[in-house]
């Protein structure tokens, strides 16, 4: 009698399965991977000003696009597709196998991370070629970028899985989730310059991870001289790390405790 496979190895197996499944859904692939590029193209063509010496709006916006890409591919995609899988009965079937919940979650995290990496490469490519995007310089910027992507996508994945408990049906999920994400994007300084938003919007945004992810990405893509123009007159990267970590823990807790495999 062989041992049953470990949760980690099954998680990696799930990741491969999820990626293969995702890659065959052409509409989702195009939407997920090209959407940020299309938005960058639109905003980059409309707003051609510089918002500070040496800082174009495109540069500011690219930081916001990568941050909200993490929210779209993680939180939004999972909070919509998991209730659909539940409606199909696919989750109940998985529940009846020796595959543990943690493997399912690891698989989702792998899918989110891989599509995020592809999305970032596309944004970099198009940004460099057409919109004069300037790459971060210095190892410390890249280190910050790396932990922001890893922590941000884990946090986004965990919250998407946790939020999937809320919609009653797959059909209703998108109607619940999409407005939340769009409003958060407006409030968090993705489409507008954060400091120009009304204070109440800034305060609401500061509760949620997207504002911190966006600010963290600005610390990577904008010159350090721009930090003085932030609300706190600094990048506050330690605080960003803490906020994302707290949300990751909250998301993971509800995912593991309350995940719903079945409709009723």
């Amino acid at each position: 009698m062989n041992e049953i496979p470990s949760a980690i190895s099954l998680g990696i197996r799930r990741g491969g399965f999820e990626i293969r499944q995702f890659s065959r859904q052409r509409e989702s692939v195009v939407f997920t991977l090209f959407f940020p590029v299309i938005l960058l193209a639109i905003f980059g063509s409309v707003f051609k000003d510089t918002i500070a010496p040496g800082v174009t709006f495109s540069q500011y916006f690219a930081a916001g696009m990568i941050a909200s890409g993490l929210v779209n591919t993680g939180f939004q995609a999972l909070a919509i597709t998991i209730p659909l899988e539940r409606d199909f009965g696919a989750l109940k079937r998985l529940r009846g196998t020796p595959m543990p919940a943690s493997s399912y979650f690891i698989g989702k995290a792998i899918l989110v991370t891989v599509s995020m990496v592809i999305q970032i490469f596309m944004l970099f490519g198009f940004g460099l070629l057409f919109f004069g995007l300037e790459m971060p310089t210095g190892a410390d910027k890249w280190i910050t970028f790396a932990w922001l992507v890893v922590l941000g996508s884990s946090c986004s994945t965990a919250l998407g899985i946790a939020f999937s408990i809320i919609p009653k049906s797959g059909r209703g999920a998108s109607a619940v989730v999409s407005p939340i994400v769009i409003i958060l994007q407006f409030f968090s300084g993705v489409f507008f310059i954060f400091t120009q938003l009304p204070p109440w919007m800034q305060q609401i945004a500061a509760i949620f991870p997207l504002k911190w992810l966006t600010q963290g990405m600005r610390s990577v893509f904008l010159p350090d001289s721009f930090a003085t123009q932030e609300i706190a007159k600094s990048w506050e990267n330690e605080r960003t790390f803490a906020v994302l970590l707290v949300w990751l823990i909250i998301g993971a807790f509800f995912s593991l405790r309350k995940f719903k495999w079945d409709r009723d």
Binding site: I4, P5, R13, F17, R93, R95, P98
Partner: protein
């Protein structure tokens, strides 16, 4: 040891008593069918045995394990069972072989993927996307995913709903083959001919209780019940219930001096017995 052992099982949803004290023993290697109308408590009972639902009271042992438990022991247990649910579908963007191969990786001693595909008769469709399969073919894929882990115990919930007659016969052969390999099977079905063809024993469940457990041929005193002889006489359809149908037919033969108009001799079908047991009759 019995594969399934249930005593005094109870489950309520608010004021509704779905299961009201069920006792059940299913031996290893047996094919056991659970019959009952919708809302009788069938699904609740089976879902408690499968570990999908909690019970209010009673003892449950499935392969020596209480399905209420979780954690690593539950994974070890799920490694030994297979579940084919009533309705499952998915995005269908993967092929039959990709899907079965993926699921086989969940188990410690899976069956060979091509062997499973052959067993459910999907050889021609192995490379097809699931989305392109017919309803019956999808159902066979469900069964394939239920048996790929080489289970000691298989739960089959309404396995042939939506099958054409030919596909049902093919499916029955598949179940017979599983019996040959020693798999214990708990089958719930609406089709009484299916229960009759496959099951060693059937249980009829109604209003959350088991009315009777016996072999399909003996259920409700079927094997000893009277035969019904009907024929036409003087323009009128006549019928008589008798323990000696042969003698009656002989008598009629001499009365009519040859062919008896519109003669039929019938015993109650499993369906007749079943409908009588759950308090319903044919039209």
């Amino acid at each position: 040891m019995n594969a399934i052992e249930v005593t005094g099982l109870r489950k309520s949803y608010g004021p509704i008593h779905a299961v009201r004290g069920i006792d059940l023993s299913i031996s290893s290697g047996e094919i056991f069918a659970l019959l009952g109308p919708n809302g009788a408590g069938k699904t609740t009972t089976v879902e408690i045995l499968e570990g999908f639902r909690n019970r209010d009271s009673g003892q449950v042992s499935v392969l020596g394990f209480d399905p209420r438990n979780e954690g690593h022991a539950a994974r070890e247990w799920r490694n030994r069972i297979g579940i084919v649910l009533q309705s499952t579908s998915d995005s269908g963007d993967l092929t039959v072989v990709e899907t079965i191969d993926h699921f086989s990786g969940y188990y410690s001693n899976p069956r060979k993927v091509d062997e499973v595909i052959h067993a459910v008769g999907l050889d021609d469709k192995a490379g097809s996307l699931i989305r392109k399969l017919s309803g019956g073919q999808r159902r066979r894929l469900d069964v394939a995913l239920g048996i790929v882990g080489n289970p000691e115990l298989l739960f089959l919930d309404e396995p042939t709903t939506g099958f054409d007659p030919e596909a049902r016969r093919a499916f029955w052969t598949l179940i017979e083959n599983l019996r040959g390999s020693g798999t214990t099977i708990l089958l719930t079905t609406h089709y009484l001919d299916e229960a009759e063809a496959l099951a060693d024993r059937v249980a009829v469940i109604n209003n959350g209780q088991i009315i009777e457990i016996s072999s399909p041929t003996e259920l409700g005193g079927r094997s000893t019940s009277k035969a019904l002889v009907t024929w036409r006489e003087a323009g009128e359809l006549k019928s008589e219930a008798t323990d000696n149908p042969t003698a009656l037919v002989n008598k009629l033969t001499s009365i009519f001096n040859g062919e008896i108009p519109e003669l039929t001799v019938s015993r109650p079908s499993l369906e007749d017995i079943y409908l009588r047991m759950i308090g319903k009759t044919h039209e």
